[in-house]
Symmetry: C2
Subunit: 388 residues, 2 copies
DNA sequence: TTTGATTGTTAGTAGAGTTTACTAACTTGC
DNA sequence: GCAAGTTAGTAAACTCTACTAACAATCAAA
């Protein structure tokens, strides 16, 4: 009789997950990240200690830790040798030995660099590919091959690949424009993922660099890092997050006009661009001219001092508007250290009203050579472990 | 026998919640906010429609909605009159009639303003207190009395109080400095909460204004609003969130030096501050001088055009570094509209390299009179409902 | 040796969201 | 007017997460 009853159709909802609705499992993922973060930054500790720091119960922490043990994200290190009453604690730590990351720096002059890094950002191994005149897809292929080679050098489980590249990179890891390589809409992230099978993250090189400094350097949650090389780029951390910008072009300050008194003609067609004062080629040209003058040392000093002033003129409104705590310069130390850095600091203070006792701090990035490699690695750590 | 067994000490953990560990209930709170947000911005809809937009099941949405019905945050509006097969939908909507908010604007010249607003930011009632020469605690008392009066004017359940005040306000709602009122570390939020018993939020007036424009105006997630009044202040939205700054002083651009060619002496002691060009008093002074010249109209035009240029010179590095999509000016329309706004737009484009097809949009804020009141209300909606 | 402190685990419970299965109520086509 | 199909909303049972309660293991100090 009722054999003919309708077949119940299962609601096939929740197919796309467009919205940002939170499931209990999302909370779980967040808490797992918190455990990893705590261990990563504070070092090995017991489950009970984690429980106290996180505000979760020992039971929950035990469960989270056993989950992470299974995934290989953390390891047990044996009993703590602390002397105190009670059952001795078993230390757990992020699996520093068993996990590695690939970092890539495509922004160096005529060389593509890659490295294997551990979770603390130490470089364990390096590989390179020198470029001559290649552009377009030739460079892309070199990058893919270099990535494969780097992956082969890893001696532990790889969490993923991070890349710092010149040009503008959107949130999907597509390099929309990179004039140096004549790239246009290159889906670098997907290409690398396809090639290596590893989770991959691609960002602009200055953005990668600011990640590195934010993690391993000063660590202010409101800072800018200016990367001075062939061009001038920057990466900003605002409220602890990287500023991406409306068109993924945040940090592109090389062609902002500086000052109100003209300046040199730039290859972009305007005059007075920051790059005409601050890029390494511009500085070297000006220094060469200074060396040929009657008072070479004084002239060189003026060149560097003026460049620093110009940078500060451009940065002052940014630092003021965002109330940044740190301005970090990254580039050739022999150019930036001394008169240039001092001029930046001095001019910045002159142009900002700083009644408060904590003015902006201006300094050079440590380890400018490898800052992009390390920043690229940090991006992977954040993405895969929620760590940094 | 075993009567002497140890008294089990309950783990008294999770007392402080210092960390940011996520509980399932936090996820629930988030999903409740999502429902409110969706209804607030998209208008009344059925539970089933909510389910589809949010990606949660109908069952869960039903549960969330019944929760919100109990709290009075949403109401049922009866059957939808859409004509299509199936059971007719019961529309639910944010309780637009039954919930109200107090907004306060302390940044006007010699008057404190407050208003009762509905959830859509409409002003339902106003109250004011005029100031003569009061400073310090006298002003605080006026503010507290004004708040009480405004609360009395409400005709529905009040969600809370939002305040836009001149000066620098930290994350705890303490006004650390407000020179106009000679305030120093005034805990305005706590004072208002004590007086009225309502949840209260305090921000700088320009920050409140940018919230208003972000919600009711263009709505770009990367924008700056410059508020021109007695002084010049600004509020920034970066990546959809308000930039607070390292010392809660983000947006304070009035005393950034503009340009490299000197300028007028500012009361702060430096020369060439943005305020010397752009504040209403400075503009009015310059316009009065222009009116006395031989060609008053042309001179006035030059004054306004120059002011716009100066603002753009200061903003260009900010817009470039943050890749902002919108620059919004708020202030006296008769001063800002026309030559000044055009000069800002033109100068900004000249000083930025914009190869991409979506340059920055420059415009005036709608309804500059009430923008702080409405922004203050938005802050409450965000905080109490997760809406806006 | 006893007492107390501390760590980590097991057992059971409450909350959040899901799947499954149902009722209610409407339109369409004959 | 009636069956068929469609959509909205709900009830029950299950899963997952984190919690409380209770306990075993282990060590220091009295």
């Amino acid at each position: 009789m009722e054999a003919l009853r309708d077949r119940q159709r299962t609601d096939r909802q929740r197919t796309d997950r467009t919205g940002a609705a939170t499931l209990p499992s999302d909370g779980r993922a967040h808490n797992l990240s918190l455990v990893r973060q705590t261990l990563h930054s504070a070092g090995a500790m017991s489950r009970a200690e984690l429980s106290r720091t996180l505000g979760l119960t020992r039971v929950t922490v035990s469960d989270l830790v056993s989950d992470l043990l299974e995934r290989g994200h953390v390891v047990e290190l044996g009993q703590s040798d602390e002397v105190r009453p009670g059952k001795p604690a078993i230390l757990v730590d992020i699996n520093r030995q068993g996990l590695q990351v690939i970092g890539m720096d495509l922004a160096e002059n005529s060389v593509l660099r890659a490295a294997v890094l551990d979770l603390d950002g130490n470089i364990l191994d390096r590989v390179e590919r020198s470029l001559s005149e290649e552009t377009g897809l030739d460079v892309v292929n070199q990058v893919l091959e270099l990535a494969s080679e780097a992956v082969g050098r890893a001696t532990a489980t790889l969490l993923g690949i991070g890349v710092g590249t010149p040009g503008i990179v959107n949130a999907d890891g597509v390099v929309t424009t990179a004039p140096n390589f004549e790239w246009k809409d290159i889906p670098l992230r997907d290409l690398l993922q396809e090639r290596t099978g590893l989770p991959t993250l691609v960002s602009n090189d200055a953005d990668a660099a600011v990640h590195a400094d934010h993690t391993f350097g000063g660590g202010s949650d409101d800072m800018v890092l200016v990367k001075i090389g062939r061009g001038v780029g920057s990466g900003l951390i605002v409220g602890g997050r990287r500023a991406r910008g409306a068109h993924s072009a945040a940090g592109e300050i090389g062609h902002v006009t500086v000052g109100t008194d003209g300046g040199t003609m730039c290859k972009c067609g305007k005059t007075g661009c920051l790059e005409t004062w601050m890029s390494v080629p511009s500085l070297e040209l000006a220094l060469a001219e200074a060396a040929a003058s009657s008072e070479p040392e004084a002239a060189a000093d003026v060149v560097l001092r003026e460049a620093g002033e110009r940078l500060a003129i451009a940065l002052a409104p940014v630092v003021g508007a965002l109330d940044l705590a740190e301005v970090v310069l990254s580039g050739p130390r022999e150019l930036l250290e001394g008169p240039l850095l001092n001029a930046v600091q001095q001019t910045l203070l002159e142009r900002l009203l700083h009644q408060d006792p904590s003015p902006v701090s201006v300094r050079l990035a440590a380890d400018a050579q490898d800052i992009v490699l390390r920043g690229a690695a940090v991006m992977v750590l954040w993405n895969q472990l929620g760590v940094a």
